[in-house]
């Protein structure tokens, strides 16, 4: 059981009339890669800024290593931040940017040099010491920003959508590197993003947020496979959502057919949302299928086809490697463990 490093207790934060974080509670373990995931404006950056010390909560407590740190200045916290737009100092070169924090701590010159050099190596920028910031590409600036933060050996690194400005290929590369770095350094990463793929790839834990509230906390697998609400299901990956009725434990009805499932604990005949991932559908001959539809459109996506099927007047998305002609009749099947049942969200 790993140790709790940071805990946010009943945090509320308002900007004017707008409540950005509403009675917020969660904790972060030591050496964890945790991602705050949510649409823009959901309060995830504010949450990060509270931990970093750039905002103070209106109520509640931020606890770091057992101590309340609400009123500590950013420079008094063992936490460093990697800013969204890097915020590198344009008047300093790569070396001086990275050495900035160490020089403030008045460390001996030789130690600064040794730490900067090894950090540059870690972020794969060895030999870039004397380069000016303006001559670096976006990806290189990103690495300098990370280096500048981790060279201080913080216990926690906060990352605010650090990959947002990079192109897709570079972004995917950096995802692996960040994860690798986190494991190598053995420190806690708190990562903020609105990109669900980033969150799934890197995180140990994902916190899904919307409108200042936490909707679900869990491992990427948990959240992807067992989304607790329609919002989460929709936000993490594509989803097909059906209206259904829970007949009894392990039995759900939708499309006026009954399906076996693995969920229980609902009231009898409770109206529910049924979520099925596009990749969880299999084609079977229509004669044997409980769900029958007509192929409406087909798009080649590289690894798979994205096929839209119309079932009972509604359009659903299926990801499959099998080809089906547009207009053809198809039968669909879903394994019981791939049928996810969730309580209806109150409007």
């Amino acid at each position: 059981m790993s140790k709790k490093l940071i805990e946010l207790k009943n945090i509320t934060k308002r900007f004017g009339d707008l409540t950005v974080l509403d009675n917020f509670n969660f904790y972060i373990n030591e050496n964890e890669f945790i991602t705050l995931l949510g649409p823009s404006g959901c309060g995830k950056t504010t949450c990060l800024r509270l931990i970093g010390g750039f905002e103070t909560p209106d109520s509640g407590e931020i606890i770091f290593d057992g101590k309340v740190i609400n009123d500590l200045e950013p420079h008094q916290r063992q936490i460093n931040t990697c800013f969204q737009k890097y915020a590198l100092f344009p008047h300093l070169n790569v070396y001086d940017n990275i050495a900035f924090g160490l020089k403030l701590k008045k460390l001996p010159k030789s130690e600064i040099e040794q730490r900067v050099t090894s950090t540059l190596k870690l972020v794969k920028l060895a030999g870039f010491d004397k380069r000016s910031i303006s001559t670096l590409s976006g990806g290189q600036q990103q690495r300098v920003a990370i280096a500048r933060a981790i060279v201080n050996q913080p216990k926690v690194l906060l990352l605010d959508e650090p990959l947002g400005a990079l192109d897709l290929k570079l972004r995917q590369e950096m995802q692996y590197e960040l994860k690798e770095m986190q494991v190598k350094l053995g420190i806690t990463f708190v990562y903020v993003t609105h990109d669900q793929e980033e969150a799934l790839t890197m995180s140990d834990t994902i916190v899904i947020m919307n409108e200042g509230k936490i909707l679900q906390i869990g491992t990427p697998e948990d959240i992807y496979n067992e989304p607790k609400s329609r919002f989460v299901a929709n936000f993490i990956g594509d989803s097909n959502i059906f209206k259904g009725i829970m007949r009894e434990d392990y039995l759900v009805e939708f499309f006026e057919r009954e399906f076996k499932c693995i969920d229980k604990g609902f009231e009898t005949n409770e109206p529910v949302d049924v979520v099925i991932r596009p990749e969880d559908f299999d084609f079977i001959p229509p004669s044997k299928a409980k769900i029958v539809g007509i192929v409406d459109s087909l798009i080649f996506k590289g690894v798979h086809y994205e096929i839209n099927v119309i079932v009972a007047g509604h359009e659903y998305t299926i990801h499959t490697t099998k080809y089906r002609d547009i207009g053809s009749k198809v039968g669909l099947m879903v394994e019981p463990q791939n049928i996810h049942i969730m309580h209806k969200e109150r409007p």
Partner: protein
């Protein structure tokens, strides 16, 4: 684009008539004994340079340099905090505060000089209101105070415009890396605003170095700057005095012109996008 070229004609006429031609005149006069009001001889000569051996010219040059440096320095000491303070305001307040700074510039410069003159003269309206005198007329301090009052905004604007555009994340980043507020200023904010400071120094030094009405009025003619020398050289000839004083005046003017051009080259060096020049 070619069709639009015709609209630049007025600019060219302006430049040629009011800048290029006079400069040519200045060069011709400075390096010859040609008399503008008494045409006759024309010999190219360097004898006008003798002016620089005159003690009163040397004093004026020294005054210009020293007083403008002091003015500029005081403007910096007062102006930087003002600019910094202004840059911390929200958009709306900032606009109001900025216009408050600009409004005095709309009053005629001579009027403002005369106002300072009154302030420094004993027993004027200033005494009637405040019941004390600032008897400084004719001193260097009065000239410097007058020039600071006159040119302070030109220090504030460029510094302000640099600070305003500065990425506020840089300040947070510096704090995050362990800097106290003072260190943030020393290590990040100030180094990044040096361009504005250089512009501000040049924009306050140049006009104070070359001003002549202000030292004449507030300095009571006792404190001569290089501008006063140029003025007197030109005025003498107009009033019918003999000699080549216009030629000498032209030479000194050329010198000032070179200094100004050099200063602007310097501004463009520290500030490539011209962001400090509003």
């Amino acid at each position: 684009m070619n069709r639009l070229r015709v609209f630049s004609v007025p600019y060219w006429i302006w430049t040629i008539l009011l800048i290029a031609l006079p400069t040519v005149f200045l060069v011709v006069l400075a390096f010859s004994d040609y008399s503008l009001y008494n045409p006759g001889n024309f010999t190219i000569t360097l004898k006008n340079f003798q002016i620089f051996s005159q003690p009163y010219v040397f004093t004026a040059l020294k005054n210009s340099l020293v007083l403008s440096l002091i003015t500029s320095f005081i403007c910096f000491i007062i102006g930087y905090p003002v600019a910094y303070y202004l840059s911390t305001f929200g958009d709306k307040t900032r606009k109001i505060m900025l216009s408050l700074l600009i409004v005095p510039l709309w009053a005629n410069m001579l009027l403002r000089i005369f106002a300072w003159e009154k302030i420094f003269t004993p027993n004027t309206i200033f005494y009637d209101i405040f019941q004390f005198n600032i008897d400084l007329l004719g001193t260097k301090s009065a000239v410097v105070i007058g020039m600071v009052g006159m040119y302070l905004p030109f220090m504030i604007f460029p510094i302000f415009s640099v600070l305003e555009k500065m990425d506020k994340n840089l300040i947070e980043a510096a704090k995050d890396l362990g800097a106290t507020d003072f260190k943030v200023f020393l290590k990040v904010v100030f180094p990044l605003s040096v361009g504005g400071v250089v512009s501000g120094v040049i924009m306050t030094m140049l006009p104070s170095m070359t001003s002549f009405v202000l030292p004449a009025r507030i300095g009571l003619g006792r404190i001569n700057l290089i501008g006063n020398i140029i003025e007197s050289k030109f005025m003498k000839e107009v009033m019918g005095s003999a000699g080549l004083s216009i030629n000498v005046g032209s030479l000194v003017s050329l010198l000032i012109m070179l200094v100004s051009v050099a200063a602007f080259v310097m501004i463009t060096k520290v500030d490539k996008e011209g962001e400090t020049l509003i």
